[in-house]
């Protein structure tokens, strides 16, 4: 009798195992297709880093592995800090990061998988515009400049019909409602870029240091881009900032200075990066950007970097990294990211610099 029971259980388990036969339909070896790319690369490549570029990385990984069937790439979106930490400790071949390594962090010989005495290269790979999203009854269009934005998010402007907002929006019917500004509660590159925009363009209205952690008092916090979007959508009289591609149906503010409010498009975002110089005092090929947010174009953008060794311990690994990074920076790769993640493509001038850096990797 007991055997019988076990037999029944076993049968159920066996049936379950059959349903999940331990292999995925889409992973059947595809035979001749591999030779098509003419690629002879093989090995595994590990990246860890920013979750901001996860959607783009997913696309890049998929395309790259289709072209190079011998290579296995994985990208774990654990976060920029975790990525840099793992890259330094030797846990990853490259890191994705929402900020470049600081000068004093990029010291020769500190990186686990790099050859002795090698520094790391920061290469901008992913440009994501940050939208200011809002949810106020009766308002669809909103113009904001840095000063008013800073005062709203710092809690100095408390009502939607505040004269300062009305002045920028003469045509809008602003209600007499409380403003509930929503910021990121997690430490993030998005916040860092948003606050550095405020503090660079409107230093008087935004007294706080630009930082990945929200520094101002008051307001409401929400986790991640999706959290901010959900809070703004579900709340009333809310305003927040989020990666433009994830803003969904929410209304987005036009940003700029008087008379020159710029709508957010990939082109206008790429423009501002195009016009920005590389930070001074860096080694050659270390492309840490110094964004000039007062120039032409949409000023609030997030630039994410790929961080890789100048010279790897293992030359074969260097080949893999170069191949993958080249694909990311290529026109094809940038276009794929724009499609999959709504990023702004690297401008040709910048792409050229990035490619030179990739070439220099040994």
């Amino acid at each position: 009798m007991k055997m019988h029971k076990f037999a029944k259980l076993a049968a159920v388990a066996a049936a379950g195992a059959l349903v999940l036969s331990g292999c995925a339909n889409n992973e059947q070896p595809t035979g001749g297709e591999g030779g098509e790319g003419g690629s002879e690369l093989s090995g595994t490549l590990t990246g860890i880093g920013a979750s901001s570029m996860q959607a783009a990385q997913e696309k890049w990984v998929a395309e790259f592995m289709t072209q190079n069937p011998g290579v296995q790439v994985s990208y774990a979106p654990e976060g920029s800090g975790a990525g840099r930490e793992a890259f330094m400790g030797g846990g990853a071949d490259f890191a994705g990061s929402d900020r470049a390594l600081k000068e004093d962090e990029n010291k020769a010989g500190e990186f686990g998988r790099c050859a002795e005495g090698s520094i790391a290269y920061d290469m901008p790979m992913y440009i994501s515009p940050i939208a200011i999203i809002f949810n106020v009854e009766g308002v669809d269009d909103l113009n904001l400049n840095a000063e008013v934005t800073a005062k709203i998010f710092d809690g100095k402007i408390k009502k939607w019909n505040d004269p300062a907002i009305a002045e920028l929006n003469p045509d809008a019917e602003l209600p007499d409602a409380d403003i509930h500004p929503v910021h990121r509660s997690d430490d993030s590159g998005t916040t860092e870029n948003f606050t550095s925009y405020l503090s660079e363009v409107a230093p008087d209205a935004w007294p706080h240091e630009p930082d990945g952690e929200w520094a101002a008092e008051g307001g409401e916090g929400a986790k991640g881009t999706s959290g901010v979007v959900a809070a703004v959508t579900n709340g009333t009289g809310t305003i927040g900032y989020a990666d433009a591609s994830q803003a969904g149906d929410l209304a987005q503010a036009k940003v700029g200075e008087e008379g020159n409010f710029s709508e957010l498009t990939p082109e206008s975002a790429a423009q501002i990066v195009e016009n920005s110089p590389v930070e001074e005092g860096r080694e050659e090929h270390d492309l840490a950007m110094e964004l000039n947010r007062k120039g032409e174009g949409y000023p609030i953008v997030l630039v994410s970097y790929a961080i890789a060794c100048a010279e790897y311990q293992d030359p074969a690994q260097a080949e893999l990294v170069k191949a993958y990074l080249s694909y990311m920076a290529s026109e094809e790769g940038q276009k794929a990211a724009e499609e999959a993640a709504g990023s702004a493509p690297l401008s040709p001038k910048l792409a050229e610099q990035v490619n030179a850096s990739i070439e220099a990797i040994k």
Binding site: G79, D186, D187, G219, A222, N234, G235, T238
Partner: protein, 323 residues
């Protein structure tokens, strides 16, 4: 340690140690008690390893110059989060324990037997929901739903400090986080209480009923006294879960870094675990050490809460069928 096990059963030969493999019973006894003891000790070893590692990684943050720390002076930084952790967990337990006891009683003593099984199953399901989904539910369903209630509470009971202040515009406040936590710990507390209530000796219950007690009196006389240690155990498990819950709180709570009892404003202090989750991905260098040091503080809080709970329980004699 296991060698000092004294045989209790009169049948076994006295002073039979490892040198006497003659009796299967004795050998089995030795093996069994050794495995049990070693298992117990291995837990202590694991915990010691976790603690050792925590201290090791936390040390740099505690010893280095406060000016170097990325999040500012350590104790000043961690104090509101420590408060928030305890505050949220206590609120959650205040809501969850009475409801859990109610559900457990309903299943064990009120609902018809057939129905009770199914109902128990449904409540267990809640335990299966991943915390991320609780978080999503909290943001998208619960927060918008409670916003009008919070507005009303604030208007009607604003004189009561926890309900004072400017009401949140998104409903993602301390009270919402505590409700989500309460729902999350509910299945654990309920399931344990239910099992304990079901174990109440039938004779006790029948004796009580035979004396003319109503069902409620019977429960007060027979079920609660028997189940009290179990209820406390269950509550402690729930408390542990509530103190350490990460993702749901991180997603639902709009956190601040000030100590505040306000339940309806966005000024609710963050919890330590959620704060770690929010900042860990971007943490770098000393920041990681500082976050881990806050994890150590959480560890100490759990320790202190458990000690306090133990002190309370110690005043009552524990019931056990096994002592």
């Amino acid at each position: 340690m296991s060698t000092s096990v004294e045989p209790r059963d009169p049948q076994a030969t006295p002073e039979g140690e490892a040198s006497q493999p003659t009796s299967v019973g004795r050998g089995g006894e030795l093996v069994f008690s050794t495995i049990s003891t070693v298992s117990g000790l291995s837990i202590l070893a694991i915990l010691a390893a976790v603690a050792f590692f925590l201290v090791l990684l936390a040390a740099p943050a505690l010893t280095s110059d406060p000016a170097d720390l990325p999040y500012g002076e350590f104790w000043q930084w961690v104090a509101p989060f420590a408060f928030g952790t305890v505050w949220a967990a206590v609120l959650a337990l205040l809501m969850a324990v009475p409801v859990a006891i109610g559900i457990a009683l309903f299943i064990s003593h009120y609902a018809p037997r057939k129905l009770a099984n199914g109902l128990g199953y449904i409540v267990d399901l809640l335990a299966a929901v991943p915390s991320v989904v609780f978080g999503l539910w909290g943001i998208n369903a619960l927060a918008p739903a409670v916003m009008p209630v919070y507005g009303w509470l604030n208007k009607a009971f604003g004189w009561f400090p926890p309900f004072a202040g400017g009401v949140s515009g998104t409903g993602r406040t301390m009270l919402t986080a505590a409700i989500v936590l309460a729902v999350m710990v509910l299945p654990i507390i309920t399931a344990l209480c239910r099992e304990v209530f079901l174990q109440t000796p039938k004779l006790h219950e029948e004796a009580s009923l035979a004396l003319g007690a109503t069902r409620w009196e019977m429960i007060k006389q027979a079920v609660f006294p028997f189940g009290m240690p179990g209820i406390i155990s269950a509550a402690m498990l729930g408390l542990g879960r509530a103190l350490g819950e990460t993702m749901a709180v991180a997603m639902v709570l709009s956190p601040s870094d000030q100590i505040s009892f306000e339940l309806l404003t966005p000024n609710g202090p963050n919890t330590i675990a959620a704060n770690i989750a929010l900042n860990f991905p971007e943490a770098f260098g000393l920041g990681i050490n500082q976050l881990i040091a806050s994890g150590l503080v959480l560890f100490v809080i759990t320790l202190a809460v458990n000690m306090a709970a133990r002190a309370i329980i110690a005043s009552r004699a524990e019931f056990s069928g096994a002592n």
